[in-house]
């Protein structure tokens, strides 16, 4: 078996940092993730709110969403490739399918959990239409939506890595793949470390910070 030495891994990391492969790969992956994730949020949050508010959508859309959520998002890849070829669009599609549903489900749940008193109050105060959605439903559901965003992020990240390993076209996944092809176990482990670093940073630093702020502002106990 090929085992990596700590020195080898460090050297490989430095090497990839020096010749820019690490940053190119990282940039490419993060760009894809950013696009796909942003799209998921833009589609998923309104979808979740609508499903929660429109009884017809709940009956028609929710079972589909729940069913598709049971599908590992990487399973969308073959279909995406048939549709879009081995292109950026296929990867994006998989990333979106990975996180969109989780975000929509969490949002729907969060909207349903909004204190009914607040909704009634909004009604008596004459808050309707866009103001109701943007001023009451969205902020009211925000703590729950954040949980969904976190979950969605982790799914999107997983989907991206799987897709990049299969559709080898730039990104950290490709670096990983090439490491394997070249039997370069040090590079494989070095890239894995980079992936862990990204994951931990986003999860512990970015999301933790946002969550803490929201929970404090919303006056929720921080026991989680």
């Amino acid at each position: 078996m090929l085992f990596p030495t700590p020195v080898g891994v460090a050297e490989s990391l430095i090497q990839m940092e020096r010749d820019g492969r690490l940053w190119t790969g990282l940039g490419r992956s993060m760009l894809r993730l950013g696009k796909g994730y942003a799209l998921s949020i833009v589609l998923g949050v309104p979808l979740g709110i609508w499903v929660a508010r429109v009884p017809f959508l709940e009956r028609a859309v929710k079972p589909v969403v729940l069913g598709l959520q049971a599908l590992p998002s990487v399973c969308w890849l073959p279909l995406a490739i048939l549709w879009f070829g081995l292109t950026e669009a296929s990867i994006l599609f998989v990333v979106v399918m990975g996180s969109l549903l989780a975000i929509a489900i969490a949002t729907e749940d969060a909207v349903r959990r909004i204190e009914p008193l607040l909704l009634r109050e909004a009604g008596t105060l004459g808050v309707r239409g866009l103001r109701l959605y943007a001023g009451v439903l969205l902020p009211g559901a925000l703590p729950g939506i954040l949980t969904g965003l976190k979950l969605g992020w982790s799914f999107a990240w997983r989907a991206l890595m799987a897709a990049e390993l299969i559709v080898v076209s730039g990104g950290l996944g490709q670096l990983l793949h090439y490491g394997r092809e070249l039997l370069d176990v040090a590079q494989v482990v070095a890239v894995m470390f980079s992936i862990v670093a990204v994951g931990v940073t986003v999860d512990r630093v970015l999301f933790r910070a946002i969550e803490t702020r929201v929970w404090r502002r919303w006056g929720l106990s921080e026991t989680r």
């Binding site: 204190e115 008193l117 607040l118 009634r120 109050e121 009604g123 008596t124 105060l125 004459g126 808050v127 309707r128 103001r131 001023g135 009451v136 902020p139 009211g140 925000l142 502002r217 919303w218 006056g219």
Partner: protein, 302 residues
């Protein structure tokens, strides 16, 4: 003549006071309730044959034991619940659906937790006041009116229960509704805060003279706040008595007159419950301070 003398003194001079039934007033009523009945799906007859006139600028308290339909009537006035029978008009127009001109307030202050006190007011005002500076100015004015100045920037969860209730009151008043409907708004407060809120509400009402319908099952609270006290009874929910409270303001819950009045009202309530034998499902209703058998009536403002 009575109102010229201080209440306490008057009470001493005339040892036995009795409340008088409300007399119908001239002019068209602001709120007119005509033969309203309501049955819930589960066949509970929450209201039977309710007729009531509330005139502009009146402060009417609905008083009654738990389950007598006070909340049901208030929801019907607010348009949140269409009664199964009868007609309700406000300013001559039938009530259909909720409307910001008839604000409903509950025990729970229902402030938006992610907005500061000021933002809560400003947000509500958005549908009423177009210009932003005027909104800010109105909000500041009403925050001051409920003595919350200095807490404009506080979030609801940083305030005490009483302060939250005051913020909620400020928000409701700032919307300048023509009718204010309040469902036991002080029911969840401790005795001291409750007393302060009653004083504040009196003061604000004297300044603004809104039409208020105020639900409570605290006899003294009703007497301290109301121009009229409408006493209701349960099973079926109906109006028992409609008293007029002619006492000068500000009133104190410990006034001799109020103490005597409350005794009279409690008797009325007892007599309504005692003789009728059909309290089959009495055990299903939580024991109330107003029920005949209770050793210590709760309805004494504490």
């Amino acid at each position: 003549m009575a109102t010229l003398l201080p209440t306490r003194l008057w009470a001493r001079l005339v040892p036995r006071w009795t409340l008088e039934p409300s007399r119908s007033k001239p002019g068209e009523a602001k709120i007119a309730v005509r033969e309203v009945e309501h049955r819930y799906e589960n066949k509970v007859e929450a209201l039977r044959n309710i007729s009531l006139d509330v005139h502009s600028g009146e402060f009417v308290c609905l008083l009654g034991p738990s389950g007598c339909g006070k909340s049901t009537l208030l929801l019907a006035l607010a348009g949140a619940l269409p009664p199964t029978c009868g007609r309700i008009t406000i300013d001559g127009k039938p009530v259909k659906g909720p409307d910001p001109s008839r604000l409903l307030m509950f025990q729970d202050p229902a402030l938006f937790p992610w907005m500061t006190v000021r933002q809560n007011l400003v947000f509500a005002l958005r549908s009423k006041v177009r210009s932003r500076p005027r909104r800010e100015e109105t909000a500041a004015r009403y925050v001051k009116r409920v003595h919350l100045d200095g807490f404009e920037g506080a979030l609801p969860h940083q305030l005490s229960g009483g302060m939250r209730m005051r913020a909620s009151l400020a928000r409701a008043l700032s919307m300048d509704p023509s009718v204010l409907l309040m469902d036991e708004p002080f029911g969840a407060l401790d005795a001291q805060t409750k007393g302060q809120m009653q004083q504040l509400l009196q003061q604000v009402w004297v300044e603004t003279r809104k039409t208020v319908v105020f639900v409570t099952h605290d006899v003294r609270e009703a007497l301290v706040l109301g121009d009229r006290v409408v006493v209701m009874a349960a099973r079926p929910g109906r109006i028992l008595k409609d008293f007029e409270v002619r006492l000068p303001r500000p009133r104190d819950p410990d006034d001799e007159a109020i103490v005597q009045y409350s005794r009279q009202i409690r008797e009325a309530l007892r007599s309504a419950e005692a003789p009728k034998g059909h309290a089959k499902d009495a055990s299903a209703v939580p024991a109330s301070g107003l029920s005949a058998g209770a050793a210590h009536p709760v309805g004494t403002g504490g």
